[in-house]
Amino acid sequence: MSQIEKLIMQPDPAALESAVSVRHISKNYGPVEALRDLSLEFPRGQLTSLLGPSGCGKTTLLKIIAGLLEPTSGEIEVNGRKVTGPGPDRAFVFQDFALMPWANVIRNVGFGLEMRGVPTSEREAIAERYIRQVGLAGFEKSYPHELSGGMRQRVGLARALAVDAEVLLMDEPFSAVDEQTRRKFQEDLLGLVQNENKTFIFVTHSIEEAVYVSDQIAILLPRPSRVHEIIRPSSFRNKGVDNIRRDPEYLDIVDQIWASLRSYVE
């Protein structure tokens, strides 16, 4: 199947340098084809959402980029280097947070650094900085069960930021938190994209969320998964977090995406 690329109101994508390239990735689970010949570019310093109905393989693709799953064929390049497994250039934020319940916040945040052999005092200093950055100052010694769902995901985020990877992989990070917390997260995420010079790859099943936070949205369709469409919202990004949801372009894109996805919803 050929890929249809539709670009809306958009600067020339060739001008953007790719941080992550996905080339002809296929993934089969036995006879089941999860991904077929999927190619996609992720521009540096921007946030790209992978959006699609459940079962469209977006998490599979993210885990292949992370090096947690092996593709059946095709290859991934991060900054021009081929991916063969997890690496220091990528950090993962998990849907279910994946916090260690026996370790307090500072140890959870410092885990990635610990695995890189960073000495304890330095590790704790870095961890404390990021705990403060995600707004959890004062909770360093708390255990995960003492935190709310939103706070737990902030720990997961701090852990990913602490290793200072160039690429942040986020697997439906806000799906397990309540609506208000989720909105706050989305605003904070926009700030992060702006201030940190990192590339974000963001899996979500929420259309509004994808349009709200993304520089580029890749719509994936299922069975077998392929990229259906790439949308690059452009006009409302600089209008301030409070105005995005009433911007006409925002509303148009939400409607347009729903129009192309509705036939895939059971």
Partner: protein, 253 residues
């Protein structure tokens, strides 16, 4: 509320011991001493040192057997949980052992190893080990996948994943297995002393029964049950202190 809980605990103890006392006074059976008589016998045996000497004897096979079961059981359990080959090879044995009345092996153990310490230690081991192995291996297998993925994505080595993620994640269930194993070990130790040769507390029980000194017999039984329960509670306390995060359930719930 803790006041109410404490009061109710005391009340519940008073009811049980009171019932014991009343039943002993009626008496429901010639072989049923009162609670007060039994406690007096207990104090007397502690005072004249019989009880201390008996426990020194009883705790020997118990301590050795539990130590062996714990170390070996957790090691085998980890191994079985981590390797599918060893899982296939060893799991069925422990599953059968867990379901089977292993006490039936005792006559055979006596034939093979005599009536000494070895047999008694082995009895404790066969009772305590299966549940320790099965709990450990099950817990290791059930480590949440996302925690292992988290470890890999943050570049943990295989060894780090085992030491820093799998074992801590499994430790609550391993501890639960240890408690069950120790409880079964107590059953084994007493069984060995009653069945193989009367020594230690088993000797007090058997001897006082034979001379119809029922208060002493009940006192000895009371003391061993008390010891087992206290020891298991102590272990639980130690666990809470050592592994602060353990009883908190999983964060991904």
């Amino acid at each position: 509320m803790p006041r109410r809980a404490l009061l109710l605990k005391l009340l519940s103890a008073a009811i049980l011991f009171g019932a014991w006392e009343v039943a002993g006074r009626i008496p429901v059976s010639y072989a049923f001493p009162t609670f007060i008589d039994s406690m007096r016998a207990l104090l007397e045996m502690f005072a004249d040192g019989t009880m201390i000497a008996a426990y020194a004897e009883t705790l020997k096979p118990l301590a050795v057997g539990i130590a062996i079961s714990a170390v070996l059981g957790i090691a085998i359990g980890l191994w079985v949980g981590l390797s599918s080959v060893f899982d296939w090879l060893f799991s069925p044995i422990f599953v059968v052992m867990q379901a089977a009345p292993l006490a039936a092996l005792i006559p055979l153990l006596v034939l093979a190893y005599g009536i000494g310490l070895t047999s008694k230690v082995l009895v404790v081991c066969i009772m305590a080990m299966p549940v320790i192995v099965l709990n450990t291996s099950g817990a290791v297998r059930n480590t949440p996948e996302s925690l292992k993925e988290m470890g890999r994505s943050f570049l943990a080595s295989e060894l780090s994943i085992i030491l820093r993620i799998i074992i801590p994640a499994a430790s609550p269930v391993i501890f639960a297995g240890l408690r069950l194993g120790i409880s079964a070990g107590f059953i084994g130790a007493i069984l060995a002393e009653l069945k193989i040769t009367p020594t230690g507390v088993g000797d007090i029980i058997t001897f006082s029964r034979s001379i119809a000194d029922y208060p002493s017999m009940y006192a000895a039984i009371f003391s061993i049950i008390l010891l087992a329960v206290l020891f298991l509670n102590l272990l639980e306390k130690v666990e809470t202190v050592l592994f602060e995060g353990n009883q908190r359930g999983y964060v991904s719930d």
